[in-house]
Symmetry: C2
Subunit: 214 residues, 2 copies
DNA sequence: TATTAATTAGACCGACCGTCTAATAATTGA
DNA sequence: TCAATTATTAGACGGTCGGTCTAATTAATA
């Protein structure tokens, strides 16, 4: 029988208890991710997150130094979560490289649809807000993009080797182009509450990298 | 001799005075535009704007019902300001249609450079924040994009007629694609504090619409 | 069993945000 | 001409937010 997780009580927790506690820290991060993908950093209050997970402020400041430290962890967590997602789709050797890209895109689109186009990309959200954010976030956000782009460039290399895209393509540059445009499409999808921008950008991008027929 | 503008005092202003008053309302809008292009709506405080233009709160609420009404006016003002800019460049019959697009892009890039890539696009900023914004903003923002896109589509039509771009291009769709990607590039330019994303997106877009050589 | 460690609980403060009422001065019109 | 009205500034007020701090609670440790 699986023990249903239970709210912690005050005081140091038992070490060898068979009680399954909700991991407060993890809960806070999960709720934080949801909030930041929807509303970004500045307009999300800590109290707001605390309310959702039913945790008092003391716990928050026990686990995190302050809002900035919390934000740093959220960027890290989201960056990795998404990097895993990319790897998952990009290394699916059952299909051709280009189809893997399309599969990832379809999945990402489904993800947005699921949340009624209210949740966007945490990294894009914070990038937009950057001027109002702690300066330390900048490098972190850029690094996340770089990571995603390297993975994407690698996939494009494979696509090139497979003859699926033009041999003239600079794959690193094109990966950068993809993420620039994709973030724009996500932004627009949130605004219009529709997946159309995602589709439109995708078809444009594919047309751009396809080998020119002659 | 030009009278230097002077701060208003409390009480109804004289009607036929030769004193040149600063137009408080206009000042507020100007400062609001600057603030929203930088930080967006949610993280911009009214006090902040008031401080810049040295105006007390009462004046603000005299001219605008509330922050939302102020925001509505800012979107309107920015939309028109930018539409004029587009028309200016797009109707410059001294150059070819495609070159007009490039001239506009160069100008927009210079604009971002001038403010050290801290100011982005007000419409894009608010689009990103949309979930945390008054619902009425949505239609307004979409309409602004539609307006810009119509103008852009028209230019692309001319470019097509001039043989500068492929005859197969769906100009309306491509104009939409342009603004989706452009907003993504602006976002990234702000994050990286560099014009590179703008250049990169531009070259990709041009490659996409150019007639295929054979 | 006294001390220390881990965690929740929530009061409190200063800063700031958006609203609202009061004060001030000029215009209008009976 | 002066009371009512209009235009505008002035700033008090209540609420919220982020961050700190102290207390309470329970378990581990020595």
């Amino acid at each position: 029988m699986i023990k249903s997780p239970v709210k912690r009580k005050p005081g140091r927790p038992k070490k060898n208890s068979d009680t399954v506690f909700l991991d407060t820290r993890e809960e806070l991060i999960k709720a934080g991710l949801a909030a930041l993908t929807i509303k970004g950093y500045s307009s999300t209050g800590i109290d707001e997150i605390l309310k959702v997970v039913q945790v008092p402020k003391g716990s928050f400041y026990h686990y995190f130094d302050n809002k900035e430290a919390f934000g740093t962890e959220l960027i890290e967590a989201y960056g990795q979560y998404f990097a895993k997602k990319l790897s998952h789709w990009f290394y699916d050797t059952d299909t051709s490289p280009l189809n893997r890209l399309l599969a990832f895109i379809a999945d990402a689109k489904k993800g947005m649809q699921k949340f009624e186009y209210q949740r966007g990309c945490l990294i894009g959200n914070l990038g937009q807000e950057m001027v109002a954010l702690p300066e330390g976030f900048r490098k972190q956000l850029i690094q996340v993009f770089n990571d995603w782009e390297m993975k994407t460039a690698h996939l494009l290399d494979e696509a090139k080797a497979a003859g699926e895209i033009a041999k003239t393509i600079n794959t690193a540059q094109m990966a950068y182009y993809f993420w620039v445009g994709w973030e724009g499409a996500v932004l627009r999808a949130k605004l219009e509450q529709s997946g159309e921008p995602l589709d439109l950008f995708t078809s444009g991008f594919i047309a751009l990298i396809k080998p020119t027929p002659h």
